[in-house]
Symmetry: C2
């Protein structure tokens, strides 16, 4: 799992445990996926990627007062 | 954290660790948020909710072969 985290941190913000988020270009997205595919264990790991096509909106609400790791970047 | 998981499981699919997903009605959403707000610790917990307004698309890709907990429900 640490190798997956290490790759994700190159492109995304580490939000919590196994959750990363961020805005990436098409090129960065394909590099990220390629790097992940080269190290993940198909039978043991469970990796889900959500992508929001341009023009689509996603609301993001934080229910707590704890600092938002993505705060100064988005 | 377990109390949060218990509430989330009533409305959503437990995908992984602290990640839940699902399709809920407006009413269910407000009930879920209300129940969560009543137990979360504002200073210690970090709870982020992503909502996709009607008409918006989200792509969901699984990079591994491991079973998808949401498989028979979505």
């Amino acid at each position: 799992m640490n190798r997956i985290k290490k790759i994700c941190r190159k492109y995304l913000i580490h939000l919590q445990k196994s959750v990363f988020e961020g805005a990436v270009t098409e090129g960065q997205y394909h590099k990220l996926i390629g790097e992940l595919r080269s190290i993940i264990d198909d039978k043991l790991d469970f990796v889900v990627v959500y992508t929001l096509p341009d023009g689509n909106k996603l609301n993001r609400t934080i229910l707590t007062d704890t600092p938002d790791p993505a705060d100064n970047l988005l």
